[in-house]
């Protein structure tokens, strides 16, 4: 027990600081990704131009196969090169700036794709009924389509969030802080307790956020009400 107490005495403050940095980065990235991907997904789902839809989805899909470490590295070097080309220091070459760009890029696709699929899979009959009842486009979106698409959208947000927590451990390499700091130090010095000090909270965070999002989904649309059978 004494060893555990000593461990927290030594590293407790750092763990808190790193966790705080990590949570902030993850939340900012996921929120921005939602703000972009959900409306975009809705627009694409209702869009009739197949080519446009394919182009946008294609662009978003290009990012996913890039290994997360590569994306973080690419962003930093890209910003440096852009600065060079423009001749001024427009973009930060270190820290949370490039890190967030990479994190948001990664968080986008699951949310975008799931929103798109979610809206598209809504039974057209239901939409017809709603239109017949005199609902406006906006009413249909918020009262019919989104609620019915919700399980898909939330699944996308949950996947994205858990994923982002993992990718965010890498941004330590480019000075953005987070739990990766502890993990890399632990690796470089063969101190397993440092690695766990970083990995542990990351895992706990992922579980917590995933659970919270589940609760959020329940609050938004209690399963009892999600009945697609038009009565």
């Amino acid at each position: 027990m004494n060893a555990i107490a000593k461990f927290f005495a030594d590293y407790g403050a750092e763990m808190l600081q790193s966790t705080r940095e990590h949570v902030i980065l993850t939340l900012i990235a996921v929120l921005i990704a939602c703000a972009v991907a959900i409306p975009l997904g809705v627009l694409l789902a209702r869009c009739r131009f197949k080519l446009l839809v394919n182009i946008v989805m294609g662009l978003a899909s290009i990012i996913q196969p890039i290994p997360s470490l590569a994306l973080v590295a690419l962003t930093v070097v890209l910003f440096y090169l852009i600065n060079g080309l423009l001749g001024i220091r427009l973009l930060a070459t270190l820290g949370t700036g490039p890190a967030l760009v990479a994190l948001v890029a990664y968080a986008l696709l699951p949310i975008l794709r799931n929103t798109f699929i979610g809206i598209r899979q809504v039974d057209p009959t239901v939409v017809e009924v709603a239109t017949g009842m005199g609902m406006t486009h906006r009413q249909i979106l918020f009262s019919v389509q989104l609620p019915l698409a919700l399980p898909f959208i939330m699944a996308g947000v949950r996947i994205s969030t858990v994923w982002t927590i993992g990718v965010a451990t890498l941004v330590s390499l480019v000075g953005a802080g987070g739990l990766g700091d502890l993990i890399f130090r632990g690796l470089s010095s063969y101190k397993i307790h440092l690695i766990m000090a970083g990995a542990g909270p990351a895992a706990v965070l992922a579980l917590m956020l995933d659970w919270l999002l589940g609760r959020l989904e329940e609050w938004l649309a209690p399963s009892g009400l999600r009945n697609t059978n038009p009565q």
Partner: protein, 315 residues
């Protein structure tokens, strides 16, 4: 509450939360000085020393960004102003950054980088700490003695025999940066005229020493001031053709930062000449040892106290 209304409420709350997070992230006052460090222990110890010196001897606030992914990340960030200061090595500055040929005289090397960096990058080299943390080629002492390898040339000869099929098979473990740098693997192999038969394994700086001691690799590009060379009974081979330039460490700071806070020059120069190779090795070992390792900041603080560079806090 209808679902539609709940969704709107959620969007509103999310927007507020995002705004709050962005404020916290970007509008909280930044530290006056941001100190960087590369991804190995010595850089953390030096970084902490510089940070503590500044915090205790001036009114300035310091943020540490240690364990960054390598020389170029630190250097580019310093140029761009995302970092104010970090500890760099003269040889690295000369060959790796300026892309000059190596200069073997330490003082000449220092002058060369000092002049060039100030002129071309607006970066100032302050007084060196005193130690030379050169790249080395290091092996297990037992194996080196057994094979009669004590210089780089002898290693080269052995590897060439290996190529021809007669020598004992030696494997190498190097850092990613060493493999890429012109003052690293490529230049080394050119100067000594050899090539490793199998691709060197790539690993983080902190992992090399144990890998060598355990026999996972035979030759590593150990850093001269790492305490584990002695601790693991490894031996450094002699660079008989003097391929590696001197790597004297010194604080590298933005001229703009120095202009804004001129008091930093005196404060940071207090470390001038205070760290020789032996001392740096010892300090590094305190952090790296497996038996009761200490944290870099504690090691740094204790050293500064012992040298009277900071005064002890009242209990």
């Amino acid at each position: 509450m209808s679902i539609g209304k709940k969704l709107l409420l959620l969007v509103g709350v999310a927007a507020v939360v995002l705004a709050a997070l962005l404020v916290v992230q970007y509008l909280t006052p930044k530290a006056d000085i941001v100190i960087g460090g590369k991804d190995f222990t010595e850089q953390s110890v030096l970084g902490e020393m510089l940070a503590i010196l500044i915090e205790e001897n001036t009114d300035l606030t310091v943020e540490r960004k240690l364990y960054l992914g390598g020389t170029m990340i630190c250097f580019n960030a310093l140029q761009a102003g995302d970092l104010d200061l970090y500890a760099e090595y003269t040889g690295t500055g000369l060959v790796n950054i300026l892309k000059h040929d190596a200069i073997s005289d330490p003082d000449e090397a220092y002058s060369a980088v000092k002049i060039a960096f100030e002129r071309d990058y607006g970066l100032v080299w302050l007084e060196p700490f005193g130690f030379n943390n050169t790249y080395t080629l290091t092996m297990r002492r037992a194996q080196a003695d057994e094979l009669g390898i004590h210089t780089f040339s002898e290693l080269a000869a052995h590897v060439q025999q290996q190529e021809a099929g007669s020598g004992e098979h030696l494997t190498a473990g190097f850092t990613a940066e060493f493999i890429e740098r012109s003052d690293g693997l490529k230049g080394l192999c050119e100067t000594y005229g050899f090539q490793f038969a199998t691709e060197p394994k790539q690993m983080a700086p902190g992992l090399m020493y144990k890998a060598c001691a355990d026999g996972d690799v035979d030759v590593i590009c150990a850093f001269a001031t790492d305490g584990r060379i002695a601790a693991y009974d490894l031996i450094t081979l002699e660079d008989d053709r003097k391929f590696f330039p001197p790597y004297y460490a010194a604080p590298l700071i933005r001229a703009a930062t120095l202009a804004r806070y001129p008091e930093l020059q005196d404060v940071l120069n207090r470390l001038a000449g205070k760290l020789d190779n032996r001392t740096m090795q010892e300090l590094n070992l305190q952090v790296d040892r497996s038996d009761n390792p200490r944290q870099a900041r504690d090691v740094a603080r204790d050293f500064l106290l012992s040298q009277g560079l900071i005064t002890p806090k009242e209990q």
